[in-house]
Amino acid sequence: MKNELLFVAIGMMVVTFIPRLIPMLFMKDVKLPEKLNRFLSFIPYAILGALIFPSVFETSENLPAVILTLIICFIVSYIGLNPTIVVIISIVSIYLFNIIL
């Protein structure tokens, strides 16, 4: 387990460093096709969608508490509150809902 995590850490370093390094060293005037550019720009949002659902429902055995916290979290994110504040509000919500419900 520990060695496996160390391997993960080093692997993550390699794959995050290489994309940053290659263009800085070798790319002078290469331009990516527009479609590929847009594909790449969508990736972060697609990943977030798949990361949130359905795993978020497995964070607590108390499903009503999770759903209510999700709703609150969406609302405060929609208003545009700072992510740190959204995280704090959500933790307090799920903590309280877990006690009440």
Partner: protein
């Protein structure tokens, strides 16, 4: 344009990083990941989104290869940033400095550097920005780990939700501005849910990779033409 000016210009990034890094350290602890791994990721990976996602994937029990591949997918956008920044760097910047500069490219430092008025950026200036950003990221992680070790069990359980809260806080404001982003995120989540319930042989990590590729590709073909500048 000197190193010192870079540090001053980089201060807003520093202020933004410390709370996120603290949250990151706390999350790692709540997922029972050894503190030295949590810190090591901040020291050698230095990429916020990848580290959060990496911890999320370790948390759901994804395999090392799935985690590394997903990290690669998440960070492939840095290719574009590095390519764009390369054009602003002095042509005669030594290779060693190019390596150091590229290690420090993140969404935040890139945005900050891109919006500088000077056409060419001195490498000492860029290094100043990078070093202040990097130090605050590592320092914030240490604080998060320390705090995470002393919070009570019931609160630590509630902390499990915080990773998702963070993801939602990143996604919703972007989705609000763009129907495209909303559709792509929903499509990706939908495919992922479908795979998890129907093709149960596919592991969760691969399911995320497959959903991401299909949804992003669908985005390219469904929404032809118009520009979008979310990043």
């Amino acid at each position: 344009m000197t190193f010192k000016r870079g540090i001053i210009v980089g201060l807003p990034v520093c202020l933004g990083y410390i709370p996120i890094a603290i949250a990151y350290g706390l999350l790692g602890i709540s997922f029972n990941i050894p503190p030295y791994i949590i810190l090591l990721l901040s020291v050698i990976v230095f990429a916020g989104a990848s580290q959060f996602i990496g911890i999320g994937l370790i948390g759901v029990g994804a395999s090392p290869f799935e985690i590394i591949f997903t990290t690669f997918m998440v960070n492939i956008r840095h290719l574009l940033m590095s390519a764009s920044l390369e054009k602003r760097v002095d042509k005669d910047t030594p290779i060693l400095y190019r390596i150091l500069i590229s290690f420090g490219i993140t969404d935040e430092t890139f945005s900050l550097l891109s919006f500088q008025k000077d056409e060419k950026l001195n490498y000492k200036f860029i290094l100043g920005v990078n070093i202040i950003a990097y130090s605050s990221w590592v320092l914030g992680t240490m604080i998060g780990i320390s705090v995470g070790n002393i919070i009570p069990e019931s609160l630590a359980l509630a902390m499990n939700f915080s990773l998702y809260a963070m993801f939602i806080a990143l996604l919703v404001p972007a989705a609000k501005k763009s129907l495209k982003i909303t559709s792509i995120a929903i499509l990706s989540a939908g495919i992922h849910i479908l795979i998890r319930f129907i093709f149960t042989l596919i592991s969760i990590g691969w399911s995320i990779v497959i959903s991401t590729i299909i949804a992003s590709a669908a985005g390219v073909f469904l929404f032809d033409g118009e520009n979008h500048n979310e990043e």
